[in-house]
């Protein structure tokens, strides 16, 4: 209990004084995760829509695999990306290991299946509503996908926020591929792991409260900007 209240006080103090180290690692957390979610969404949303409007023999298997990959263990993803990017691995010449780029790559792999799967489920229902209309208008597949993506944007936003939530709180993969280097790849979650290792529970908890608050503020901000839960359904 003492650690908890001290952690809360620590968090408030560091936020109030705009502690430069805290600002630095918070911005890096956001930079890595927002970039990863943007890239993942660019891949996953069209993929989800394509899966909703296309019928082919392997579709149910692709969807089953996608759903299973939602639970990809981050530490395994981290290990695979690490082995790929290591100087003795296939992409070693790029020198990307222990950089924010490596962390972004790992997070893209972790969140893409999640966003694609949630997007597909939302758009599948929308597609059953739109199916007759879009077919009768003789639309191309590209137009159908674009229509679904635009009209389903609220649900897709939720899919992206779920991806953001998974990525911002993730520590296993980015610890391995980023290495938790001070001022370079240290983000909120790896800093929490480090401070716990030092036995500084109050600082670790303080960083944890900052992380949770950040996730809540960002979600509220996006919801208010996109005016969800206000007007009619669409």
């Amino acid at each position: 209990m003492n650690d908890l209240s001290q952690g809360l006080a620590e968090a408030i103090y560091r936020v109030a004084t705009l502690d430069p180290e805290l600002v630095d690692i918070t911005l890096r957390s956001l930079q890595v995760t927002v970039t990863a979610v943007v890239i993942a969404a660019a891949i996953a949303l069209p993929l989800g829509a394509w899966l909703a409007v296309t019928r082919f023999w392997a579709r149910r298997y692709v969807i089953a695999v996608l759903n299973a990959l939602m639970g990809l263990p981050p530490v395994v993803v981290g290990l695979i990306v690490y082995v790929m990017l290591s100087r003795s691995g296939p992409f070693g010449v790029l020198g990307l290991l222990f950089t924010p780029t490596a962390m972004i790559i790992a997070q893209v792999i972790i969140v893409t299946p999640l966003i694609a799967s949630v997007a597909h489920q939302a758009l599948r229902d929308l597609w059953s509503e739109y199916h007759d209309l879009l077919i009768s208008l003789n639309t191309t597949k590209r137009q159908r996908i674009a229509t679904l993506l635009w009209d389903g944007r609220r649900a897709l936003l939720t899919a992206c926020l779920a991806g953001f939530g998974r990525a911002i709180g993730e520590v296993g993969a980015i610890m391995i591929v980023g290495g938790n280097i001070d001022n370079v790849t240290r983000v909120l979650t790896t800093a929490i792991a480090l401070e716990t290792g030092k036995g500084n529970f109050s600082l670790a908890l303080g960083l944890g409260f900052v992380l949770i608050t950040l996730a809540i503020i960002l979600n509220l901000l996006i919801h208010s900007l996109s005016r969800t839960e206000r007007s009619n359904l669409w």
Binding site: Q31, T35, S86, R87, S88, G92, G95, L97, F98, T99, P100, T101, I104, G179, N180, I181, D182, N183, V184, L194, T196, G197, K198, G199, N200, F201
Partner: protein
Amino acid sequence: MTLRFISCVLAVLFPMLAHAETVRMAVTTSFENSGLADVLLPPIKDELDLDLQLLVVGTGQALTLGAAGDVDAVLVHSRAAEDAFVAAGHATHRREIMYNDFVLVGPSADPAAIADATTAIEALQRIDRADAVFVSRGDDSGTHKMELSLWDKAGIAPDDLGTSYQSVGSGMGAALNTASGLNAYILSDRPTWLTFGNKGDLVLLFSGDPALFNPYALLPINPSRHSHVNADAVARLEEWLAGPRGKAAIESYTFDGQPLFVHSAVAN
């Protein structure tokens, strides 16, 4: 517009391109958890204009990173593993920088009475006889290797200790957290123990045996194996650490007036 967007994306993806010279060094968790890293990094940045990037891992993983060429240098504390590393050609040489010692930490009630032991080996034998809980790093780190060699010299196989031997497979700080929670005995390096923030009921019970000597050495990665290694910068770093400025910085780091690391490098 498109061009600007692409350059923005690139700037986000590759923020490291515009930086000063950087050296990546894999160090042991005791180096970082003890707080020495925070003392050494600023003067290295100021005086050598080097961004020293530390990867904090156990000695075993640090050597693996070095062998793969993922770091420019390794700073670890396990003599036998270091000599094998140099012999295998992964590093150009071994330069001893500093030392401190290991200590045995345990519950203040000291059920195994290791405070009365005369040697570290006897202390471990007492822990075994009392069937007291012992937390092991279990992560192939320098501290773990030291602990295993002590058990070996004591004629005890840790596997035979059963449930009273808890191998946690994590860094020094995390292992100390576990020992604190279990109120168990543990082998730690002195600086990490002294600066550790969650001691609970644990106290320092045994130290001073020469067998607990703990030297730290720098191993520059062999540039003929890995051409991308920043060997010049590592050489400058080595001279700085071994020289008078490194000595002053390392020995300025004290806890309650005691230096935590003793500089031992011989300047060229």
